[in-house]
Symmetry: C2
Subunit: 477 residues, 2 copies
């Protein structure tokens, strides 16, 4: 045995000195040293409150930061200053251009004989009503499919209402089936001849908060205003309609496109010890909708990942991971991953150097699962990382999940992704509403997440060998 | 024994024939027959959903019904029609005059460098700002006493903010200590030289709903605008102030007095069998604040008591209680018990015929206690009634409590009161907010309350002898 070890010594020395140079065919893995350091980071994070301070600062001093507003610029300045104050090695901005969508006043009411105001909010990207407003009868549909089923041009100037109720799940899987009404409903309603689209809010609460969110018009459709009713107001409309008499509404929505804006992805990087050109990407998005202060969506994600990167950056130089950890505060996620698409385009030449990407953008609930979009050979590495995360109450799950929204453009280009899946049971109670404020965040839950992101990013950046993305099915057309 | 009974027979016969003619010195009580009928009523009520249908109708078809608005008139028409449809023997309106307080737009924002909108609502009775709005620095006080403690004229045009946090209790006793800031804060702030008063909402929730409610100005003070911040927005202001830098706000509050209005107390009466001129008064108030649809405040109370009276009215004539049961849907409670004061004045001559009064105006939570403002001699009667209510989970409590708000003017004039105390644990989460909507009401809890009110009103109206009000302490000046 002694002779064997002596023979292997030079190879072993090489292996530990350049951990990312694992021999071909050997699955990527983490060294015991790396694992020990990640555990130390994890322990440090759970006794920290750095993420809380960050999200407190962002949501209090900047508040709502709709992309393209004055607050967007303040948020960018905030993120840059915070990365610098946290001691990141490199901090820079990358420009992101997009059209400005602005929200002015928005009012809705039931007309006599049931006159009463309604709690409503226009969907992002929607056109407004004429200056004098719009008055029309409302016609209800159970879901988008029911609206799709009526003949074209049959709605004749009426307001189409879609009443689909989102279901609550820990993993948020109720969102997908619900959100189609928001994204595509106006295009369908327009084709049916409707003058406007109203939807029941895509949300699991029963409070008087309408949930906004993005919509778009299919090519060639006549754009009609699209707005969401708070769930109690959707109930109200349904109860009125159940009386079997015409229900007429008045909408006065002063919103629309107004010029162009250049915001920025704000990037902070902790330089790797030996392979700094290879990067592990984590982050959250810096923009928010305008109604709340963007605490759970996504001040929390920015704060968690900024704090996690900073913990790694504060390690002694010799303990730094081999690769770089790049924390991105993404610009304008809400209006269509605009910052993420700009990043993927700008970094097209170096995407092969992006080892893996993960985004925290599902609220502030504790992480309960680690999932990944990697190939079979990379699973042992994921399992090893999962072993370090397990004491945080995180289970490694071999299937399911997907990349965070701002990681999608990278994943589409073949970058591996990981998902540190948060408990989203309550997420859609607050999502895209005025009620998305700091008081909805539990500080200890943030610490758990910083611990998970710090350990995850460290281990990925210091792995021997690298994960590869899961092979993607060939495009179907 | 036989002889004795024979001797007593004529007296006993008289006692049972005219139950309200109990001999002097004999405490009032309920007969076994009366008790059996009340139990039957109680059982019928818990299998009913009449109150739910009523509150569903009022909150859906009329919605918010701020006193003095077009919806106030619709609510009056609704109540009259419902009393008639429910078969009440007599239904009538009594006029109630008051000044109209109207709410136009209301906006508040933090000025740069922390620019962001705030969720705010003006307090009822407040003056507005100038047309061009008001901009001033905010100064915080922990409570009204702290504001009272600063020298007069020391605030010099600044906005006084009172941050007192209401405490949650089942019986709502956190309201009293909190509400002084709302009622009297503007007068105190004005004397200190402030340009406006802001308060943390008098509410136990942490949602982005400001709580409105009435305020008034002391004689001779310069009226200044008074408004409430939603609790998360109050937190936000406190966090900004904690940074030790000046925080400036802009208020634009378009509210104020605007003419006079005549609304109506709407009254439905079930005529008593033998002493119809004596009445047991129950009810709730018909008006609501304008922000929500007035479901728990006080659609529920109107519905519960209307349904309870109707159950009594549907009894066969021979089973009717001796006295009348008068259900009052009170006008304009919110702006100062205006309907109740008008009623007490209009009925001053017959208040001695008002046996007892009870109002349901504390939300839609189950009743857990029976309390009463009666003299010692009347306690056996209260205990007997409590015995019938006990299976509903209601405990008779000898001390504490007080009359419902619209019963206060009667109680002040010597009418006995009862309190069927509701569980108000969540009441101040929704009270006076946009979130006071039908979905906050549990139908089964309404049924329990209809059962309690029906049994209570029946037993009081059919008691042998009558309760007397608790002697009141002599006025202190």
């Amino acid at each position: 045995m002694t002779r064997l070890i002596a023979h292997l010594a030079p190879a072993l020395a090489l292996l530990f000195a350049s951990p990312i140079r694992a021999a071909d065919g050997i699955p990527p893995s983490v060294s015991p040293t790396s694992q020990a350091r990640a555990i130390a980071l994890r322990e440090r994070a759970v006794a920290d409150n750095a993420a809380w301070s960050l999200v407190e600062s962002l949501t209090t001093e900047v508040g709502a930061r709709l992309a393209g507003t004055e607050a967007d610029a303040r948020a960018v300045a905030w993120a840059r200053a915070r990365f610098e104050a946290l001691g990141y090695d490199r901090v820079w901005l990358e420009p992101v251009k997009f059209p400005i969508w602005r929200r002015g006043h928005e009012r809705a009411e039931v007309l006599p004989p049931f006159a009463q105001p309604l709690a409503i909010t226009t969907l992002g990207g929607s056109v407004g009503t004429d200056r004098k407003g719009l008055e029309a009868e409302v016609v209800a549909f159970a879901d988008l499919a029911a609206l799709e089923a009526v003949p074209d041009a049959s709605l004749d100037g009426r307001i189409a209402y879609i009443g689909y109720r989102m279901t609550r799940f820990r993993d948020g899987r109720g969102y997908g089936p619900a959100v189609a009404a928001r994204s595509r409903g106006a295009s369908v309603a327009s084709a049916k001849g409707a003058s406007a689209l109203l939807i029941r809010s895509i949300g699991t609460d029963s409070h008087r908060f309408p949930h906004t969110g993005m919509m778009s018009y299919a090519d060639g459709v006549r754009p009609i205003p699209a707005a969401a009713l708070a769930n109690p107001d959707a109930d109200q409309i349904e109860r009125l309609l159940a009386r079997g008499v015409p229900v007429r509404l008045r909408l006065d929505l002063d919103v629309g496109l107004d010029g162009e804006y250049t915001s920025h992805n704000v990037i902070g990087e902790i330089t790797g010890r030996s392979q700094p050109d290879e990067v592990v990407v984590i982050g959250g998005h810096l923009d928010s909708w305008d109604l709340g202060t963007g605490a759970i969506d996504d001040g929390a994600g920015v704060a968690i990942t900024m704090a996690a990167g900073a913990l790694i950056g504060h390690l002694p130089a010799a303990e730094r991971p081999a690769r770089s950890v790049r924390v991105i505060a993404w610009a304008n996620e809400e209006q269509g991953l605009i910052g993420a698409r700009a990043y993927a385009a700008a970094h097209a030449d170096t995407l092969s150097k992006h080892i893996i990407g993960a985004e925290s953008d599902f609220g502030a609930g504790r992480i309960y699962a680690l999932r990944a979009g990697v190939d079979e050979a990379s699973w042992p590495l994921i399992e090893q990382i999962g072993h370090v995360l397990a004491p945080l109450g995180i289970e490694t799950q071999r299937s399911g999940g997907g990349p965070g929204p701002d990681i999608v453009p990278l994943a589409e280009r073949g970058v591996a992704w990981a998902q540190l899946a948060q408990d989203g049971t309550d997420y859609f109670d607050y999502h895209h509403t005025a009620d998305d404020t700091l008081d909805k965040i539990e500080p200890a839950a943030l610490d758990q997440q910083v611990a998970a992101y710090a350990a995850f990013a460290y281990l990925m950046a210091d792995a021997e060998g690298r994960p590869q993305a899961r092979p993607r099915p060939a495009p179907t057309r």
